[in-house]
Symmetry: C2
Subunit: 380 residues, 2 copies
């Protein structure tokens, strides 16, 4: 039996997870961060799956990162005891944070303003338990956070420290998604490290504790050459990888563990089109490779065994229709794909494509049949 | 009490449905199609909600359109008895179609190839009941379908007719989403009508019955001035409307019934940014207005009562972060939006944004409190 056999019977479109590739991706990140002498704190938002989280956390000391309180609640119910909620907290969300902490989950919040710090202090005084916080640092102009030399950093740090709520700082170099190649990404990782450690130093010079210095993104985690002064690295998409990461040189196409199974529904032969039953509802509308050297459209087309088919990409996506065609400049038209033929589409952005589905149909690492189905959760 | 009061207590991000606007949109389409003297067959894929479908179908004789068999199964379980599955059918899906038909739902499939017709004929002969089909016509080069003068049309028609399975033809002028203004859209509607009726005539001239002549998209449905020869119109996004439709002139901003409630989580004041807790996970990655005269980014920002705030749009979206800023060239920076403030974001594409959520939080037409929650379903 080949790995493709169970895929012939699934309802399409379906989200396929190659477990062996995922294990390899997890092992690679675990080894890499261990070699750098820091802790790994996997981001659980990519998979939103208890089954995947268990594998990620096993090699990471049980430390996790979440992007929603729903993720925190699901993981806490599974016994995860150490989480960072890595999106700036709102006052309205602090009651749920306190409930999770009161139930035994060491959940840390993130903030970058005095208004948030005051809300956290008030909730800690008035609620069932103290809520510790990390101050977010802006290392690359990507989105939120304070520059390391912003006087507000120490001002906020003092407020939190006085209440015993200051845990440290965190930063996310999201702009690393625009940087290609190992050397450029290593320089970006150093920029992220430098901003984080400068912020930690600014707090310490003011006499404030800064135990946690948390950095990370998948590209910088894989590229970093020295993480002196950093205590932990956060990364998420490394678990599956995707075409955006391959375009940056962080992984190869063979590392991408996620794909969307689809069936051919028709053709427009004079235009060179093959139509399939995976539109944006199954692939997402993410066009993350549009600005890269190789634009993969809405995804790269593979055969049922996961081998890319010449230069076929999904050039257009409606709700339940995808249009497959050779990429501009391709030398061949690709193989004949009759109605009913099945294909696998590699995603631009694993987090986004996975979010369109309720479960992973897993090609298990031990080749067991039938396939495993791992549920995903969602919501906030 | 104002309509915004119940919105202060919801967990954000959340999908908000303004029921009064939706009722107005449904009534407008019902009246318009009745005036044209044809039947309306609402597309249920936009809302994927039993509650919304009930309102759409009540004024449309119980006829519906679906884009997945999951939608057909959910609607059939609710007693809907007349459905078109408007995505080219694959041989693998015919067993589920037959099950639905055997259970009493008159579900019609769509196809545009001899291979599909043969599969439908085989399944009709061997399965529990005949499966009637519409032949899809390509009226504008958008995606699937046969040109009305393609000899394959009559060839396929003959095969189906001989088995008593030919119901007629259908077309969808999807390229109408690129045409702006009432006159241009009316011309496009005429192009759609002309292709559909030409195809029906080609079948009839060959002695084949063509009872159903089904056309439609929301823009052409609202713009059509004459539908002679057409028997029914399909439309979906009219029920909610969105920024893409407003950009085409099909609706105004005041007609858009869907929005995403979000909370301010921070600022980058030197860059003029306000950060909110609605990223692409809540808004979708749809950038459908990117090619329109007014690019709305990832959505247009409104206050809690749904009034647009000057020229504020979501300029960037990560998974759980949205960045709000004035659109390029805006004259004002917009109001002060402190941490914890709540906003509503109008979506580019209602189908896509709604698909990111599990339920509608409904501002009920009668102003009743608490809000109603209408579940959405998904999957295939």
């Amino acid at each position: 039996m080949t790995e493709s056999d169970p895929l012939r019977d699934l309802t399409t479109p379906a989200l396929i997870l190659d477990e062996a590739r995922m294990h390899r991706n997890i092992a690679r990140m675990n080894a890499r961060i261990a070699a750098l002498g820091v802790a790994l704190r996997p981001h659980l938002k990519t998979a939103k799956s208890v089954d995947v989280a268990r594998l990620q956390l096993a090699g990471a000391g049980g430390r996790g990162t979440v992007s929603t309180l729903k993720e925190a609640e699901v993981m806490a119910a599974e016994g995860v005891r150490d989480l960072i909620y890595a999106v700036g907290v709102t006052p309205q969300k602090l009651a749920r944070v306190a409930q999770l902490r009161a139930a035994g989950c060491d959940l840390t919040v993130v903030l970058d303003s005095l208004a948030q710090a005051c809300a956290v202090i008030a909730a800690s005084r008035e609620g069932p338990c103290p809520i510790p916080a990390l101050i977010e640092i802006d290392s690359d102009g990507h989105r939120s956070g304070l520059r390391p030399d912003d006087p507000a950093l120490v001002a906020i740090g003092r407020q939190l420290h006085a209440e015993g709520l200051l845990r440290g700082i965190m930063t996310h170099a999201g702009e690393s998604y625009r940087v290609v190649g190992a050397d450029a990404l290593a320089a970006f990782a150093e920029q992220e490290r430098a901003a984080a450690t400068a912020a930690a130093e600014a707090l310490r010079e003011a006499g404030l504790a800064c135990g946690v210095v948390s950095v990370g993104s998948t590209p910088t985690a894989h590229a970093a050459r020295d993480l002196s002064g950093v205590t932990e690295v956060r990364a998420g998409v490394y678990v599956f990888f995707d075409l955006v990461m391959a375009g940056l040189g962080v992984c190869t196409l063979d590392d991408i563990a996620l794909s969307v199974l689809t069936t051919v529904i028709g053709h427009q032969k004079d235009r060179g089109w093959t139509l399939v039953d995976a539109g944006w509802m199954a692939l997402s509308s993410d066009r993350g490779t549009a600005q890269q050297a190789t634009d993969q459209g809405y995804g790269l087309v593979c055969d049922l065994d996961g081998r890319p088919l010449a230069d076929l990409i999904v050039i257009s996506a409606n709700q339940e229709h995808g249009i497959i065609a050779p990429r501009p400049g391709a030398k061949t038209q690709g193989p004949d794909l009759p109605v009913g033929a099945r294909l696998r589409i590699l995603p631009n952005h694993a987090c986004n494509t996975a979010a369109q589905h309720d479960a992973y149909a897993v090609i298990t690492a031990d080749g067991a049949s039938p396939m495993a189905f791992w549920p995903r959760f969602r919501g906030w």
